[in-house]
């Protein structure tokens, strides 16, 4: 290859032809340069495509469908863009630009889907939100009563109790499992990690079916909020375990070493040094676990059962929950009176999830800032969870050697630091979630 790589600042004259592509370094060496001609090609193609689609869909064969039209516009735009660039910049650059647009467009579609979910639920739900909606139950409201009657008080109480119970069950278990995986270790830690991963793949309906099979069929109990909590804790446990394990990995080995060097036992250094250091992270883990299960519907059919009246005792009798309420109103009764109620409740649920999610982020964030520089320089293990095993690329049996007595780990920041510094300097920051 006889191409000399020098960043010639000329704009590539349209010398055309495939063979000239290699001579066009400016774009290649600095992939983010964006020139006026690029802008004109981009917006020109957009306009041209829009005109063409308008001609086709608007004038020649009128189709009243924005979704189809925008799909057609996207396709036309890409073709035009590619054609335009191919003639001015060559085929390689054209391909590069077109793919950049494709990647960006697909990412934008995903974002648009998320936005439209939030907007749609908000618009449909906000009309029927009122104070009575939060204070009333459905005890005296039938499926044909107007949407303004009835409320979600009983569902909120049910959800709250079920989630609380599920948290009480799954959080100690999950954090202990994380401690086992990260602090104690041992021969079985590998299989335990495998179990946790397998559990996170258990379909929610199977969890419900399992609780029904053991409690209702096996022990002869009838529906109750407690059973719902059991089913939810099965779903919550893997989230809590994995998130808190990630957090525990962030605790600097030096703290453990210091504690052990002062003569404390392993148990004391875990309880008084490691866990307090990871406190906010564990709170994040709990919140993410709650966010994971608060919208679960399927397992509640066969555990909580659902009821239109207030039942504040989670250990006896069928109980309503927010997801069950939404489902019943929107899908089961499904008439003009119940659907708006369902959407209003869906909005409440969505807001709850959003609040939980944002809280989890907000709690996780100061951690990075407070620990500041010192931690930032450390190899960040949160995002790159695999790095512990990932380092095993370098040191073959790192994982296998994590024997029963776990030595405080000494890491080599250099390896990882080097890897990251060039690749994506900022993406791995503060993503402890």
């Amino acid at each position: 290859m006889s191409v000399s790589i020098k960043p010639a600042p000329t704009h590539s004259s349209a010398s055309g032809g495939g063979s000239a592509d290699l001579g066009r370094e400016p774009n290649k060496v600095k992939p983010r340069s964006f020139r006026a001609s690029d802008a004109s090609a981009l917006f020109g193609s957009m306009l041209a495509a829009a005109a063409l689609v308008w001609l086709l869909f608007g004038v020649l064969l009128p189709v009243d469908n924005t979704a189809m039209a925008s799909l057609a516009w996207m396709a036309t735009f890409l073709l035009t863009y590619r054609f335009a660039l191919k003639h001015t910049e060559g085929v390689l650059v054209a391909r590069d630009r077109v793919m950049a647009v494709v990647v960006g467009a697909l990412a934008a579609i995903v974002l648009a889907a998320l936005t439209s979910i939030v907007i749609f639920v908000t618009v449909r739900g906000i009309k029927y939100l009122s104070t009575t909606f939060f204070t009333q139950t459905m005890e005296f409201t039938g499926p044909v009563d107007p949407s303004t009657e009835g409320g979600i008080a009983h569902a909120l109480v049910g959800t709250l109790q079920q989630i609380l119970l599920a948290t009480l069950i799954s959080v100690p278990l999950g954090v202990l499992t994380a401690v086992y995986l990260n602090e104690v270790g041992g021969r079985f830690s590998r299989s335990v990690r495998m179990f946790v991963n397998a559990m996170s793949g258990v379909p929610s309906i199977v969890a419900g079916l399992f609780i029904f099979a053991t409690m209702n069929v096996g022990l002869g109990w009838s529906f109750s909020g407690f059973q719902a909590a059991l089913a939810l804790s099965i779903l919550m446990l893997p989230t809590v375990t994995r998130t808190s394990e990630e957090i525990l990995r962030l605790v600097p080995g030096g703290l453990r070493e210091a504690s052990l060097a002062l003569g404390s036992t392993e148990w004391r250094s875990t309880w008084q040094v490691v866990l307090p250091t990871a406190k906010t992270g564990i709170v994040t883990a709990v919140i993410l676990g709650v966010a994971r299960v608060i919208g679960e519907t399927a397992p509640l059919f066969m555990t909580a059962g659902g009821s239109p009246v207030m039942n504040a005792n989670p250990f006896e009798g069928a109980q309503e929950s927010l997801p069950l309420y939404i489902f019943r109103q929107v899908k089961q009764f499904s008439n003009e009176q119940t659907i708006p109620r369902g959407f209003a409740a869906a909005l409440v649920l969505l807001v709850l999830v959003l609040v939980l999610f944002v809280t989890a982020r907000a709690i996780a964030r100061p951690k990075v800032e407070r620990t500041g520089r010192k931690w930032r320089r450390r190899p960040r293990r949160s995002r790159t969870r695999g790095h512990r095993a990932g380092t095993s690329l370098a040191s073959g049996t790192a994982r296998g050697r994590r024997g029963a007595h776990r030595k405080p780990r000494l890491r080599r920041p250099s390896q990882r630091g080097a890897q990251r510094s060039t690749a994506n300097p900022t993406s791995t920051e503060e993503e402890a979630l």
Binding site: L173, P203, H387, A389, E429
Partner: protein
């Protein structure tokens, strides 16, 4: 002494996870035995579900179809989103976008279901109609009755959004581990950014892409309530994914649970269906972790 207890307790907690997993399989199996005994092997091949004879042949078929549709939609999108986050987006946007994808994972499946049914479905139906009019010679796009609502296609599209976050997470993780030296080598040899991605990032990330897709498949197979809300259940099989009607094991269990609660035999059948679903998802997830574990790029990425 204290340490011994501490380790014992922590280890017990760890084992509890495995024990619960074992119990799930065990209890479903125990409850499924009556149905499996009366139906035998035909449980997997029967296409109907009444209180006398039932089997999951058609249901299993549609479960797989919905999951495949979801994957066909989700995997290219996940690759694109991962590429966008790792290679294209400016650093500031990168963090934001990662958070937003995580947020997508936090949206309850029930909300995906009602959004899919009330918002997305009316938008997709014209596309379905157009596809079936233009490409009816391809069996999967053919239509029998010209009704396009509640189809496997729509359910698949909605499920694809639900599996997107987890698939993206795995793929992104792998893409971010591409050795910078190799990327820079490609750029230094004059590759465009896309050329670099095509020759370095994508080949390096292949293991992660396959693993992420498998993991998404596992989630898609077990998706319940969104599918339940969207589909209208049928018990025949056909290749026409755009046509009205589909089914899925999870949705079927949720749908029939009410009436089956009073009918031990049918309940046992649902337990058997749940057992099949449980085993299939476990198997798919296991294969996913093997695939990821074997590849060079994704070694150590936790699923």
């Amino acid at each position: 002494m204290g340490d011994l207890i501490f380790r014992g307790v922590a280890r017990t907690a760890g084992f509890t996870v495995g024990f619960v997993l074992f119990l799930i399989g065990l209890f479903l199996l125990i409850r499924a035995i009556p149905a499996l005994q009366s139906e035998g092997f035909s449980f997997l091949t029967t296409f109907e579900w009444t209180s006398e004879t039932f089997g999951i042949g058609a249901i299993l078929y549609w479960t797989v179809v919905i999951a495949l549709v979801a994957l066909v939609v989700a995997v290219p999108m996940a690759i694109a989103v991962a590429l966008f986050i790792v290679e294209y987006a400016p650093p500031r946007l990168r963090k934001l976008f990662t958070s937003l994808i995580d947020l997508l994972a936090a949206v309850p499946s029930l909300i995906f279901g009602i959004w899919g049914f009330y918002y997305l479905q009316p938008k997709i139906i014209p596309l379905s109609r157009w596809l079936s009019e233009r490409f009816s010679f391809i069996p999967i796009f053919a239509s029998e009755r010209g009704l396009f609502s509640s189809s496997a296609f729509i359910a698949g599209v909605v499920v694809s959004l639900m599996v997107l976050p987890i698939t993206t997470a795995v793929i992104r993780e792998v893409f971010s581990r591409v050795p910078p030296g190799e990327k820079e080598a490609a750029l230094a040899l004059g590759a465009t950014r896309w050329g670099m991605i095509r020759t370095v990032v994508l080949p390096f990330g292949r293991g992660g892409i396959i693993g992420g897709a498998m993991l998404g498949l596992g989630r898609a197979l077990g998706e319940t309530i969104a599918v339940y809300i969207i589909i209208s259940p049928i018990f025949t099989i056909s290749p026409r994914i755009l046509d009205l009607g589909a089914n899925s094991i999870a949705a079927h269990i949720a749908l029939r649970f009410g009436e089956a609660a009073a009918d031990p035999q049918q309940l046992s059948g649902l337990m058997a269906a749940g057992l099949v679903l449980f085993l299939v998802t476990l198997g798919v997830n296991a294969v996913a972790s093997v695939v990821v574990g074997r590849s060079r790029s994704a070694k150590g990425v936790e699923l």
